[in-house]
């Protein structure tokens, strides 16, 4: 698999760091971080990213708005977005799936869960 560049979006630096370290352990060491949807969208439009891992509850622009903006942008809509969030409401999970999220992980999660969801998404992408 070619080296993929990840963008990790979460307003908590602790969680960004945990996801970044986990991705590195799984074999994806190329990652950048954004603290909310606004910063993430700016980075996505000004850089090259292959995958987004995003929280939902964030100030300025939440994960749903970010997902919607990515899917509405012809240059970005091909990028898979994996939601990693504390939101456990069924309506949120359904909204994320209908909005085009590639996967949904509820916090707290394990390394095995992240690994499994990434593998499923890569398989669908043909990677």
């Amino acid at each position: 698999m070619a080296d993929l560049r990840f963008l990790i979006v979460d307003d908590f630096s602790t969680m960004r760091r945990i996801v970044r370290n986990l991705l590195k352990e799984i074999g994806h060491g190329d990652a950048d971080e954004a603290e909310d949807g606004v910063v993430a969208l700016h980075k996505l439009r000004n850089g090259k990213f292959d995958f987004v891992v995003s929280d939902i509850n964030m100030p300025n622009m939440n994960g749903f708005e970010l997902l919607s903006q990515i899917k509405a942008d012809d240059k970005l809509k091909h990028i898979p977005v994996l939601m990693v969030t504390a939101e456990a409401r069924k309506e949120d999970i359904i909204a994320a799936a209908q909005g085009g999220a590639a996967g949904y992980i509820v916090k707290p999660f394990t390394k095995a869960t992240l690994e499994e969801k990434l593998a499923n998404i890569f398989k669908k992408m043909g990677l």
Binding site: N21, A88, Y104, V106, P108
Partner: protein, 210 residues
């Protein structure tokens, strides 16, 4: 129920609420509770700042743990690499393997132990997600406290406007206007609108064909 009946019920309800509010207003003044209410309003910002202090300190503690875990994992990686090389070297020299079998055994144990420690370190790292989860709950409580404070200020403005300054009211309104984030479900028991774990998420998405 007809539209007229609904209107009558609503009017009656609002009249009752109005009466209760008036009674509360009179009771506060007559019983001398206005200063108590003012004290409560004054204490709420302190409660908010204490919660924010907890959030900040737990965040700093989590960062310290992550720093140490990063350092320990790097060291552990070196031990794993070195012990792996040692095992390969011993296995590649038949005379050495037979002359000192315990050397190979110990080297393998070092390698396995280092791998187990690395796994424990990953678990310690993952456990720091408490900061994100508790932080979101604290933000929600802080927002709730701001809303209660705003409501109490409004009550005071009506009951005893002389005890509040315009700055008090403006400051509180600004804090309460900050949108509250939803965050984790603290007590999912008895709720059907939430899932409790990742299996619940996967089942829900699978049932919908995703």
């Amino acid at each position: 129920m007809s539209h007229d009946n609904q209107d009558n019920t609503s009017t009656e309800m609002f009249q009752r609420l109005g009466a209760i509010t008036r009674q509360l207003h009179d009771a506060l003044n007559q019983l001398g509770y206005t200063p108590v209410l003012k004290d409560t309003v004054d204490e709420l910002p302190d409660a908010r700042s204490r919660l924010e202090y907890i959030a900040r300190l737990t965040g700093e503690a989590a960062e310290k743990v992550l720093n140490r875990v990063d350092e320990a994992k790097a060291e552990q990686e070196r031990v794993i690499d070195s012990s792996r090389q040692l095992v390969e070297t011993i296995r590649g020299v038949p005379g050495l393997k037979w002359a000192m079998p315990e050397l190979l055994e110990w080297s393998e144990k070092i390698q396995q132990g280092a791998e187990r420690t690395d796994h424990h370190l990953t678990e310690i790292m993952m456990a720091q997600d408490f900061h994100d989860l508790t932080g979101q709950v604290i933000k929600k409580v802080v927002s709730l406290a701001a809303t209660i404070e705003e409501q109490l200020v409004q009550l005071l403005l009506h009951a005893a406007p002389q005890v509040l300054t315009d700055t008090d009211a403006k400051k509180v309104a600004e804090v309460a206007a900050t949108p509250a984030l939803n965050g984790p479900v603290v007590d999912p028991e008895g709720r059907t609108d939430v899932v409790t774990d990742q299996a619940g998420v996967d089942d829900l998405l699978a049932s919908l064909g995703f």
